[in-house]
């Protein structure tokens, strides 16, 4: 009989080993899935994890993409991780990402075509503000009316998508665009663009922001009393109240922080890789970042590693779609399995598996 036995303390070893094991299990289960779709699983897995980095044919294009894709994931995930540690579940980073992009783009379009060094910094502020403000809706509803922030933040994603569509075909549409939906190309407006800083690396301001956010969050979580309170509130809410943590303040703080970072990610995306506001501007970074946050054990350094891994599955997934004709849904299932296995394996951190035959009743 298989039994679970609670460990006296959480296992440090399994805490680090489960993400690795989850990746391995995802590869196996994903391979079976690809095989069932009639593709060679070894080639598909190799194409997802290996070719984007090391294949002669694709690496020149794919490698810079790694930073481009990882930066928004890491930026959003680091913000989410702070809230998740406090037990505050912002599932709507995707919406905050969209609103941040719209606000940042609005600043750029308002100044177009004037030059000015101050335009890009203003856009950064506007992007962060947009994400923050969108996250304040679930925050205030939760603190005032005790609504569930998971539902409210998630549903606001769909509201944000509608606003995005309305903007792309309405107020923000490019007046010189011959009626096509979508805004002006912000990345070609020098005062507002978020260019590749070092050619051929994919490095842009969003990458810089992500690394600053990682370092900032690391220090806050591990050296600052606020980080301690965040973790206390997540692990033992009553003990947190006893220590003097005000739950409402923490909700506003955590949702605001993750919203602002998601908004920033949206801004850097719209002014750089995505180039403009368009109907299909968002690419579900906000949801994938949830996987990144958990895969990285809600730890800033872990999130950096997880961000690169997920970016790889994005790039490799596209490659596999293109080269092998794998359906895009298969790649999404693949990414989802990663979170599934990780959460399932988490049981090993807190419990010990025991096989015993003597006591079977």
């Amino acid at each position: 009989m298989l039994r679970l036995e609670k460990r006296p303390q959480p296992s440090k070893f399994w805490n680090l080993a489960t993400p690795v094991l989850a990746v391995v299990l995802t590869m196996i289960a994903g391979g079976l899935l690809f095989a069932a779709l009639g593709k060679d699983p070894f080639i598909a897995i190799k194409m997802i994890f290996w070719d984007p980095l090391f294949s002669q044919q694709f690496a020149a294009y794919s490698r810079p993409q790694l930073l481009v894709k990882a930066a928004p994931l890491i930026l959003i995930a680091v913000g989410l991780a702070v809230g998740f540690r406090a037990g505050i579940w912002n599932i709507g980073a995707e919406g905050q990402y969209i609103i941040g992009a719209i606000c940042g783009a609005a600043v750029a379009l308002a100044f177009f075509p004037a030059p000015g060094w101050y335009i890009f910094p203003l856009m950064v502020l506007a992007g962060a503000f947009g994400g923050w403000a969108w996250a304040m809706i679930p925050a205030i509803l939760k603190t005032r009316f005790n609504t569930n922030e998971i539902l409210v933040s998630l549903l606001l994603v769909y509201v944000a998508e509608k606003i995005l569509a309305a903007m792309a075909v309405g107020r923000m549409r490019n007046p010189d665009g011959a009626g096509f939906p979508g805004s002006r190309n912000i990345s070609q407006y020098p005062a507002a663009s978020n260019p590749e800083l070092i050619a051929g690396t994919g490095m842009h301001w969003g990458v810089v922001a992500a690394f600053i956010a990682v370092i900032f969050t690391y220090i806050m979580l591990h050296r600052h009393i606020l980080g301690f309170q965040v973790q206390l509130a997540g692990q033992a809410p009553r003990a947190a109240r006893f220590a003097g943590v005000a739950p409402a303040r923490l909700v506003v703080l955590c949702l605001g922080f993750s919203g602002a970072l998601a908004g920033l990610a949206g801004l850097f995306e719209v002014a750089g890789p995505a180039r403009m506001i368009s109907i299909d501007f968002n690419s579900y970074y906000g949801f994938t970042a949830i996987i990144v946050a958990f895969l990285g054990r809600l730890h800033p350094v872990g999130i950096v590693l997880a961000g690169f891994l997920m970016a790889l599955t994005y790039i490799g997934g596209e490659l596999a779609q293109f080269m092998l004709g794998l359906p895009s849904a298969a790649i999404q299932v693949f990414q989802g399995m990663l979170l599934f296995f990780l959460l399932a394996l988490d049981v090993l951190s807190n419990y010990r598996l025991r096989l015993n035959f003597g006591e079977a009743a």
Partner: protein, 505 residues
């Protein structure tokens, strides 16, 4: 000698890292009230779980009236005639008494019939209980009656009771004892687990004493003194807390006209609570759990905000202040629930030391945590209060109840509080740790602090407190000096019968 009802021979059960029962043998006769004595962690629960079919022993055997007896599940034990009243009730607040009883039965009769049977049994055994009432509205003593009647309906031969009196007032204890004696007169046997030695001496004719999983002795408790029994249990002679005579000083904590709703469902509202504690004084607040203890502690710690003037610390109104501000002033608290309230279970002792020590011990500068200082503070608590643990990096939940409690109380005492409020400081703590905690509280008062001890354990209050007040249904009685207070008076106060006699005081 006749065949005993239940004989246990060489029972052994081990868990990883500990042998909970090591070759334990004893026998319970027909119509005998048998006490099972031992400190926390001595193996009492493991032993009764084996009898009740919740766990299976590794080796050894049990004989029921001479026949092999090896229940693999509680329903098999019940079928043989074993019933058990647990220390923690398994009742649903939102259901009524009869529905709760029905849920615990293997094949319950229709509710109407059951209600009639409950009424009959409760009448026969002197345990008044209305089967139609919601359990959420019952007192702890009444809830226990629900559990006992649930057992009696099965017509058991052996009734196991785990610490039954810990939630009862002295009057309720008397009622329970009458019932238990009646059961014995009917020829039923009772296995009675307790650490209250006076009770055991009053009720039981046989006692089995366990220490660290091993049988250390059997005796007739009526022939031994409480002190002898305690020393058998602990294995060494016990240190009695002591404290020289003293004069109380100025008023440090004052509560007046405090009315406060509880945040929790089925919580108790505080009604016009007033109290005053002086420097050097220990105020004991007695009462059965669920009468507003948690709410009173929360109102004093700052977890529940009160009207500004309702709580005063050294004359300053603090009712509106939060826990951090109160701590900074010198008003410290230790709540009842160790894991999850006083301490975060998965956090290390260092982190838990920071939890309340951050401000007074200056472990945070400009928002940044001084981890080295926090570790040093945790180490000081560990060494000063003899907390048995490999070190401050260990998670709080890995500590035993007594050790964690010493840590939690020690953490507050080392911060030199001017007022310390503790709720159930020795609940579920072994005798030597309890003595150490009580001594520490008395030393603190001796050094000039005001101490409020909220406790269900009346012996504890009588042992250490200078004055006594009872909490009943959210109301606090007037304070009385402990000297000269009789058990009867205490019982009446706890029952809420403050009034005629008190009006003159």
């Amino acid at each position: 000698m006749s065949v005993p009802l239940l004989a246990i021979e060489g029972l052994t059960k081990s868990y990883p890292g500990v042998v909970a029962n090591d070759d334990v043998s004893f026998a319970i006769g027909e119509g005998e009230v048998h006490a099972l004595l031992g400190e926390n962690g001595a193996g009492k629960s493991t032993l009764v779980k084996a009898i009740y079919g919740l766990i299976r022993p590794d080796s050894g055997r049990m004989l029921w009236r001479g026949q092999p007896y090896a229940p693999s599940a509680p329903h098999e034990a019940r079928a043989s005639g074993v019933a058990m009243v647990f220390q923690h009730f398994s009742l649903f607040d939102a259901l009524d008494v009869a529905e709760n009883v029905a849920l615990g039965m293997d094949n319950p009769p229709p509710i109407r019939q059951l209600a009639a049977r409950i009424r009959k049994v409760s009448g026969d055994y002197g345990l008044p209980l209305d089967p139609g009432r919601l359990v959420g509205d019952l007192s702890a003593g009444e809830r226990q009656r629900v559990e006992i009647i649930r057992c009696l309906l099965q017509d058991p031969q052996l009734l196991i009771m785990d610490e039954p009196t810990s939630v009862l007032t002295p009057q309720e204890v008397e009622i329970l004892f009458r019932t238990l004696r009646q059961l014995r007169a009917e020829g039923r046997s009772i296995l009675y687990i307790s650490h209250k030695l006076e009770e055991i001496r009053a009720l039981c004719e046989q006692a089995t004493v366990l220490r660290l999983g091993k049988l250390v002795g059997s005796c007739d408790p009526r022939e031994r003194s409480a002190r002898e029994l305690a020393e058998m249990m602990v294995g060494t002679s016990l240190h009695q807390p002591e404290r020289p005579a003293h004069q109380p000083g100025e008023v440090l904590l004052e509560v007046t006209g405090l009315n406060l709703a509880s945040g929790a469902a089925f919580g108790t509202r505080l009604k016009d609570v007033g109290l005053e504690v002086r420097a050097g004084e220990i105020l004991g607040i007695g009462g059965v759990a669920g009468n507003g203890q948690d709410e009173l502690l929360a109102a004093l710690s700052g977890e529940l905000r009160a009207p500004r003037e309702a709580v005063r610390f050294k004359g300053e109104p603090v009712g509106q202040l939060g826990p951090m501000a109160r701590r900074a002033m010198g008003l410290l608290c230790a709540p009842e629930e160790r894991l999850g309230h006083a301490a975060a279970p998965d956090m290390s002792l260092t982190e838990n030391a920071l939890l309340t020590g951050a401000w007074r011990e200056k472990l945070v500068a400009k928002g940044f945590i001084d981890w080295r200082g926090a570790r040093a503070f945790a180490e000081r608590v560990i060494s000063r209060f003899d907390v048995r643990t490999p070190g401050p990096h260990v998670a709080a939940r890995a500590l035993s109840g007594g050790n964690l409690q010493k840590f939690v109380i020690g953490r507050e005492i080392l911060q030199r509080p001017e007022v310390l409020v503790v709720n159930q400081p020795t609940w579920g703590v072994d005798a030597s740790a309890a003595a150490a905690i009580r001594q520490a509280l008395m030393d603190l008062a001796q050094a000039g602090a005001a101490v409020v001890v909220i406790s269900q354990d009346l012996d504890e209050i009588l042992e250490i407190a200078d004055s006594f007040a009872a909490l009943n249904g959210g109301r606090l009685s007037a304070k009385r000096p402990v000297q000269g207070l009789s058990m009867e008076e205490i019982g009446l106060l706890l029952g809420g019968a403050e009034g005629a006699g008190d009006a003159a005081a």
